[in-house]
Every structure is written in structure tokens, then in C-alpha cells.
Subunit: 352 residues, 2 copies
């Protein structure tokens, strides 16, 4: 594997609405220091890949209104690698667009696609897994997804069912995907967990650029045709203007629906590195370091007294005292305050 | 009773420390809109007296650093009636000073003394009680205290024990004080409540100015001599300078200790108008209007969901969601946030 062939696509267009009041439409989760470590989730995402990908091969696809934030937070990423969607159309148009851009720069590119707002605890294992997957994808026509070890019957994730009978010929730890399953209800999720061949779909994909461009041609002809038609304007001053015209005409569809569920050579690489999509306050609580009483704290001058299993996440507060709470979310940003039971985290949006 | 003889003294020098994070040394409780009605407790205090006292007879004694706040909040009070203490020496020097000032203006004055940071629910009954008490004090040499009906065994208030056998000659509802009792422990307080002749000492006093000046001469000679010595400088440009020199030399003592506990003609007028010193978040909760679930809310855009018996008091927050709390205090001001069980309100200072 020649690392100069490795390209990384960070999809940073999401609008995290479940993280009110911290995440807003103006500045969604990926641009925030949600882990309280001094870096945004976008910055952590790039950092996580270490030296797997040279910086000139890092691409960020984001909403046009987020362009300045991306440039500010990732100044090392070449400006021409920041692609701006005039509107969100799901992951399929996003990936097709950037795949054509990469293909034009390097037809032998290996591509890793990742969301910008997930967290990984064990980054060393993460990088080992990515390297192995890239090796595999560089030598095959495989579409590879990373399958996260499902540690509890989550209803907030989609699942990948692996066929563990048949490891990939050239890689003993990579298996054919039997099927993709949408977010299940609680009972179904428990059934998945009882079996040992279901993995969380993290939306992290690895392939070589020819494979994915061909897959679009075969399984998503409409989208493929749109971005192939722009080959003559890529890297010209007209590119953004044409994208702004044509992007809204794309069907809104995820790459899972458009490609994964139809393609033949789809594989899953089971991994276990403490992954979370940090989709709710509860999952952030799970990812953050905790004190002896299970409290996770992000913020200045926070005093947690006689409390257990809480997450206290304050951004603008000068000082905070929390006493006598068990299993609560306490979140503040810019004068917006949320106090709610962790068990009710899915209902937060309905409270205000 | 000639209302032009009636004078009101509002003691506004206190520094409420139990109301963190709302009350601060820079702007204590009496200057805050703690009731969430658009008026400070100082403003509510003056308003409560209606037309009992002409505005030119209203006096405010406060700390020098609070002068501007008093002038701003009570612009109708004559500037020369705002007396500034260079330091707090308790209520005895404060009252002796203002009594001499009043005596020089009107030797026949009836004087009502009140703290600036208490609340009264039934203001109509309050005014009736004050009028009756002033009538009595204007015709006698009586020192009269208002005795608040003790509705629960409070340990945060001092008590007045009345001798109910002997009503005052000219007023059937005013009784001789048997003794003053300091803040009791819980068991003692329960004993007080079981009897029917114990009242909370609200620090509201009524007397005529000769009576109190004479009482200081007899029972608190040191303080009396200090303020009598300044008779020639009152209402001259030198007054504040001399006060600044001499005030710190006064013994620090309350009027209860200096006068009440020693004087002969001390009476109590039992009243029941929903009084509270609003000394803690719990007592504020008790005074505020509540929803069907016992929640009291002061603040903008506050949503209280699936919660009971809470007080939510936010000053600078733009929006607040509180879900799933029972019996909690949630308070915010200027980026300082407190969440604590109401039962632990006395320990709040120790939490931060």
C-alpha cells in the first residue's frame, strides 16, 4: 500500500438536533468541543487518522454555510479539498461528488469515508483497523464497512448482519455482509445482540475509487450521471456555480440505500475500539471520562456534590453547583439551560 | 393620628449570602427582583406601606456602596433621607442615627422601622395592622413589635413570647412581651408552636421618636451619646464626613439586644398576613405563586416538565427546560448556576 494513494473523506454536513442546547443549526455538533478537550469533533476526526492519509489527500464535504468554520478549524486541509454542498441531499450525492474529484486527481486512490461527529476511545486500534481495511480494499473491488461491536441493544443505530461462515479470501477477519438492518425496536435489538453476527453500522466505509465510481454507475445511475456530467468543470472556476445548480436536483438518498444494499462485493470488518456516534447526551456520557460516582463533567468551575451518573456539560457558565441528582443531564450553552433525566434523552426536543 | 407625623425607616444595608448565586455582595437581595414581578424587594417594601407615610417622611438607611442603587430604585425618596453607613454595625446604631435625624425634623414623629428584604402576601391586612400599631404607639410610650403567626417550627427565625393574659390597656389586640428568644433548635421550635403565645420576630418595629431616643439614652448609653453628640452637624455639609469617622466606633449590636430585651414597655401585635423574610430559596418558593404541581417559576421562557415542588429562578438565561425534578432549587444568574435539593438549602454556601 502506497500511503500517497490514500484519501480521506470527512462528511461534515450534519445538523445535530438532539444536542440542544449545545448543538445548533448555525454551529452543529461536529464544529463544537463537545468532548471538552479543547478540540472540535471535526478536528478530533482528522487527528484520529494519524499519518494514514497525507494532508493533501484529506477532503471535507460540508454545507456551504459551514465553509468558514471548516477552514478555520482545519487550516492545514487544502482549500480546494473543501467541497461545499448548497443543500443536504444525503450521503449518496455527497460521496459520488467527492469520488469523482478524487478519481480525477488519482485514479488509483483508496478512499476512507467517515462522519465528522463520532468518537473513538481506542485510537490505536482504530488506526490498525483502518490500515488493514485499506490494504484489503486496495487489492480488491470490495466495498468495506466497519462493523462496530454491539455492546448493548441500541435502538439508535442501524445494524449490519455478517455472514461469518465466509471470510474474505485475502483477509481472514473480513466477512461478507448478509444484509443491512435499519434502526430496530428494543426487542429486535435484543435479538440481534443475542446472536453474534450483528454489528453497528458506523457509516465508515473503505474502497478504492474505481470501485465506488463503478458502483454508482451500476446501482445509482441518476446520481452517477449527474456528477460524471461535470467532469469538464471540476477544478475550474465554474465548479461551485454548476454544483450549486445541479446539487439540488439530486435525489436525497443515503449511500446505504443507494449502493450498499444492492452491491455484491460488500464486506464488513468487525472492530471493537469503543466507538459511539455521540448522538445523544447519554452516549456522550458513556464516552467521557467519569469520576468515582459515574459523573462526567465538561465545563468551567463545576462542582458536582452528592450526585451520581450525571453528565454536566456547560459552555458559557462561569460556575456551576449540582447537588443531589442521580442520572441527569445538565447542559448549558449561551444562556440556554437543559435539565432532564438521562432516560428521557430521546424526548429532549419535545420539552422546549 | 396625623399621617404627616408618620415616618418610615427602611433598613437596606443587608448582605444576603444565602441566596447565591442571585444575591451578591455587590447587589444583595433587597436590590433584586427576587419575586420576579419587575420590582426589587426594596421597591416592594416601600410600595407595601401605601399612603400610611408621606414620601417626604420615608428614610432609607443603607451601606455607602449601595447609595446609587437606592437613588435609582427609589427616585421619589428625598435624597437627604437616604442615610449612608460607612460600615455595618447592626441595627442599633442604624436606628439610633435615623431616630435623631427624624427627631430633629419632627419631635412628634411616629416611626415604623422595617427591613428592606421581606415579603408579605396580604398587603391589605399588613396596612391595617401597621395603622393600628402606629395609632397605639402615637398615644403611648410603647415599643411595639409585630409578631408574625408562626405557621411551622422555623429554626431560622427569632421568637417573641407574649404574655397573653394582659392586653395593653388601650388596645385589646396588643400584648406585653414576656421575652425574646433567639433562633431555636428544631425541638424547641416545635415546643413553641405547640403553645399559642410564640410569634416570629420580623424585625418590624413601631414607636414614637421620643420613646426610642429615650430608650437609647437609658438602655444603650454609649450609642446614644455618639449620635446625640452629632446634633450640631446633622443636615450640614459635614454630616457624612463625621458619620464616616464615628460610625465605625459604635459597638456592633442589634436593636433587639441593645433595647428590646431590656426595655419595660415592649409590646407585641400578633398579625397574620403571610410574612416571610425570604431568607432561603425554600421560603421564596413558599411565597411565590405556584402551578398545579407546586412549581414556582421566575424567569424567561422556562419550561417545567414532569416536575413537582421546584423553584426555578433564572435571571440571565434565555431559555430553560427542567424535566423530571422533585423538590429542587434551580437558580441561575450571570452565568452562575445552582441545582440543589430544597431540603439542603441551608448548605448551599458549602457546595461551591
Amino acid at each position: 500500500m502506497n500511503p500517497n494513494n490514500n484519501h480521506l473523506v470527512i462528511m461534515a454536513g450534519g445538523v445535530g438536533s438532539r444536542f440542544w442546547p449545545v448543538s445548533t443549526v448555525q454551529r452543529p455538533k461536529q464544529f463544537l468541543d463537545i468532548m471538552g478537550c479543547g478540540k472540535s469533533m471535526l478536528q478530533l476526526t482528522l487527528e484520529r487518522f494519524g499519518d494514514i492519509v497525507p494532508i493533501e489527500n484529506v477532503w471535507v464535504v460540508t454545507g456551504a454555510s459551514f465553509a468558514d468554520m471548516v477552514r478555520e478549524q482545519l487550516p492545514e486541509v487544502p482549500a480546494e479539498n473543501i467541497l461545499l454542498e448548497p443543500c443536504g441531499r444525503g450521503t449518496a450525492p455527497c460521496i459520488c461528488y467527492v469520488s469523482w474529484k478524487i478519481k480525477m486527481r488519482n485514479p488509483r486512490a483508496n478512499v476512507i469515508v467517515t462522519p465528522a461527529d463520532h468518537n473513538v476511545k481506542d485510537e490505536e486500534t482504530f488506526r490498525l483497523s483502518i490500515r488493514e481495511t485499506v490494504n484489503f480494499a486496495s487489492e480488491t473491488d470490495a466495498i468495506v464497512t466497519l462493523g462496530m461491536k454491539a455492546t448493548y441493544p441500541a435502538t439508535g443505530y442501524g445494524y449490519i448482519r455478517a455472514d461469518l461462515r465466509y471470510p474474505a479470501l485475502r483477509q481472514r477477519n473480513i466477512f461478507r455482509v448478509d444484509s443491512f438492518r435499519e434502526k430496530p425496536d428494543e426487542e429486535t435489538a435484543r435479538g440481534y445482540i443475542r446472536q453474534n453476527n450483528y454489528y453497528w453500522n458506523a457509516g465508515i466505509f473503505v474502497w478504492n475509487v474505481s470501485t465506488i465510481v463503478n458502483a454508482f454507475r451500476v446501482y445509482s445511475r441518476e446520481i452517477s450521471a449527474i456528477f460524471e456530467s461535470l467532469v469538464s468543470v471540476y477544478d475550474t472556476p465554474q465548479e461551485q456555480e454548476r454544483i450549486n445548480e445541479i446539487f439540488p436536483t439530486c435525489p436525497k438518498i443515503s449511500v446505504d440505500y443507494a449502493i450498499m444494499e444492492h452491491a455484491e462485493e460488500v464486506f464488513v470488518y468487525p472492530v471493537d475500539f469503543g466507538w459511539s456516534d455521540v448522538g445523544t447526551w447519554g452516549s456522550l456520557h458513556e464516552q467521557l471520562p467519569k469520576d468515582a460516582h459515574g459523573n462526567a463533567v465538561v465545563g468551567n468551575d463545576v462542582h458536582v456534590v452528592e450526585s451520581e451518573n450525571c453528565i454536566v456539560h456547560t459552555t458559557t457558565c462561569k460556575s456551576v453547583v449540582v447537588q443531589g441528582l442521580d442520572g441527569f443531564i445538565v447542559v448549558e450553552k449561551d444562556g440556554n439551560l437543559l435539565i432532564a433525566k438521562m432516560t428521557e434523552e430521546q424526548r429532549i426536543e419535545s420539552f422546549h
